[in-house]
Symmetry: C2
Subunit: 422 residues, 2 copies
């Protein structure tokens, strides 16, 4: 793992301001990590990401494995060469997508699926199905995902072909994709899984993480073509909403030779998420970087930072951009009440000549595009609209993170939190 190090520059309670060094550059933490699912952050280019000072991207191994294929990316010099982003990159293990097209869907926390694994608490699923039925929601697409201790078998959402996924395969694919930071394969349970299944699943996750680590240690020579640089691997804490399992899992990951720690399966509700983070934080050592997977609400970020989380990835800021939601800083009236959002397509903005953010320094705002114009672009479904809202929203996230880092460094995190949370 040459070229990797993590240093806590300043800790304030559990919150910490740190530096994460990778062969492709250094990241100031806490950091927000934009999502580039298919080797592109939707609607923007690497130059835009540089301009808003994005530090680290995360790409999805599942999607890239299916299209264009890990070999294509590897031949282009790995993700850095392929997508033309020279800064640090993470890839996930593919497990979340494979499984979210499985149990997560049937449980109503992901997309639609026919679950073949007999693993869930039937009464809770039935209650959910009843609720969905009463709302007139119908499960229309059947997907396939079968999990055993040895492997996952799943059907591609693109062409219906069958694929096998194992810890070794995940690591091999992530080696080929060549991101700086990769993740061990785990089984991400759904919040509707029962205690019995969650417990059994955690043992499976731990076994998969050990296999991932072993494959990673063996495979360090098998990097993307032309990419001499090393990778670092994070283990993942699972355990559902159960304190003892979360503590056990944190100890497990801490005791293994992972460079960093990911926290998975925490996307439940905000109260449970905070509990999970409290339990995990109690078992964490101070010397490893901690990444919270798939979570990036503004309130969630404060909750995570206060519990020792160093990085957050989340597709929301980019996804909501494409439906016209712009993020509001406190000076633009953003608060917990409006979820820091306004929809730019609303009639009230039709003739509003102000920029998206009144004092916003993002390229969209400082270049002179008005709310009125972006309103027109979004109503006309013009692609440039998606680009401008994405740039603005990612910039607001970067601004939030910069304020949080400054808050920790200058002992005023509480003030920063008050400012944003209102």
């Amino acid at each position: 793992m040459s070229g990797f190090s993590f240093k806590v520059v300043k800790a304030r309670g559990q919150a910490r301001f740190g530096e994460l060094h990778t062969p492709h550059g250094s990241i100031n933490t806490p950091a927000f990590v934009p999502v580039g699912t298919q080797a592109t952050v939707k609607a923007v280019r690497p130059r835009d990401l540089l301009e808003i000072k994005a530090q680290l991207l995360i790409c999805n191994t599942y999607h890239l494995y299916l299209r264009p294929g890990a070999e294509v990316v590897s031949n282009a010099g790995g993700l850095h060469g392929f997508m033309n982003w020279k800064g640090p990159i993470m890839t996930d293990s593919g497990g979340f997508q494979v499984l979210s097209l499985g149990a997560g869907i049937e449980h109503g926390v992901g997309k639609t699926v026919k679950l073949f694994a007999d693993s869930a608490d039937d009464s809770r699923i039935e209650a959910l199905a009843d609720m969905k039925k009463s709302r007139g929601e119908i499960i229309t697409r059947e997907k396939f995902c079968f999990v055993s201790d040895e492997r996952i078998i799943f059907k591609s959402h693109l062409d219906g072909t069958f694929h096998e996924w194992t810890p070794e395969k995940s690591i091999d694919m992530q080696n080929k994709l060549g991101a700086d930071i990769i993740f061990a394969l785990d089984e991400c349970t759904s919040p509707l899984h029962n205690r019995e299944y969650t417990e059994k699943s955690l043992q499976r996750s731990h076994a998969w993480e050990e296999r991932s680590l072993e494959a990673f240690q063996k495979g360090q020579g098998l990097r993307a073509k032309g990419q001499g640089k090393a990778q670092a691997i994070y283990g993942i804490v699972q355990g559902g909403p159960y304190e003892d399992l979360r503590r056990q899992s944190t100890k497990f990951v801490e005791s293994h030779d992972f460079f960093g720690i990911g926290i998975g399966g925490a996307l439940v509700n905000k109260i449970v998420m905070e509990q999970i983070l409290d339990w995990v934080a109690a078992e964490l050592s101070d010397n490893k970087p901690v990444h919270l997977l798939g979570i990036g609400g503004i309130d969630d970020i404060f909750a995570g930072v206060e519990r020792g989380v160093d990085s957050f990835d989340c597709a929301d800021p980019t996804r909501i951009s494409r439906r016209g939601d712009i993020l509001l800083s406190p000076e633009d009236g953003g608060s917990r009440k409006n979820r820091w959002r306004a929809n730019i397509s609303a009639g009230e903005f039709r003739e509003d000549l102000n920029p998206l953010g009144i004092k916003c320094g993002c390229p969209a705002c400082s270049e002179g595009f008005s709310k009125s114009y972006v309103n027109h672009l979004m109503r006309s479904r013009e692609l440039t609209g998606y680009t401008l809202t994405t740039i603005h929203n990612l910039y607001v996230m970067e601004k939030l993170m910069a304020e949080i880092r400054e808050g920790i460094a200058e002992n005023k995190l509480e003030k920063v939190k008050e400012r944003w949370m209102g």
Copy 2:
């Protein structure tokens, strides 16, 4: 028309290298004019257009009148302020869109329509309808467009509301939109209109152009808010594929106080287009800039330049970008045979690590994006793919025009033509 002038710097036969000065900047001619239908060149930003050295944009009055409305644009300081493009802009009169949703559609040269005006050569329309039927094509959407000497009544393609369009209204709308160069309202005939209708229509066009000119001259005070700058107006030559009508129309426009001359209705086939341009050229004086409306194929541009055309607008280079067609310069194998195009989504490019153009200096190519990556983006319908292909294609058009200008200036236009036409 203060701030406007046109100077032929160098003429070579009918081809000429010129300078068109507007209050928002000067344009070297012959120039290609990217289309920004809804006040945005699809998938790119003004900064991208500046970077590829685009000189002049054209926006569509019909679309902007319907959405967001000319008043909204006017309140934002006209198109320059609204769309944040500080360089020269043209708007068309709206007539082409109004009518192409009318006769053009029924005649199969536009979109689908139910024609209420009893104006076309029935036998030719029937033949076309038979051909369409034999191919299994069905006219599914009914549109409405009624033309009289006084006005056009049409139905919005957005919400089905009825609208009235007159020369005075077109000029009023174009005043409010505030482009540098605006066009008189004409009736654009379809190539399937018969001689009788085309003749009658030409008289109507000329009457409308006189009304347009009068409204323009009266309305020079009524500019977009905060826009002190003047506008210039182009008349339009019509007359279908009939020599006498084209000559008559050119004389008509020449004899009126129009700053420039547009050539409309020339999008028939390449042989007829060249004939039309020959007839028009024979009647043109040398001192007015000439714009060929809606035409911009690479061969068409050479044909136009050789017949005295100074500018060309065409949606093709941007439209084909979004279906993955990239333009090929001669050094990338572009020729009349492949229509200077390759589809980047093709399997052959899946692992091609070369840029879209081998020696291309466009931002997409010089920044390091490969064919392989753009192939992946297009297959994945990623928005960034559309941005990259659009930038590349507009850059190739600018490169072509720069070579043509140099060719005229240095007496080697034939060589430039040979290089591109092969």
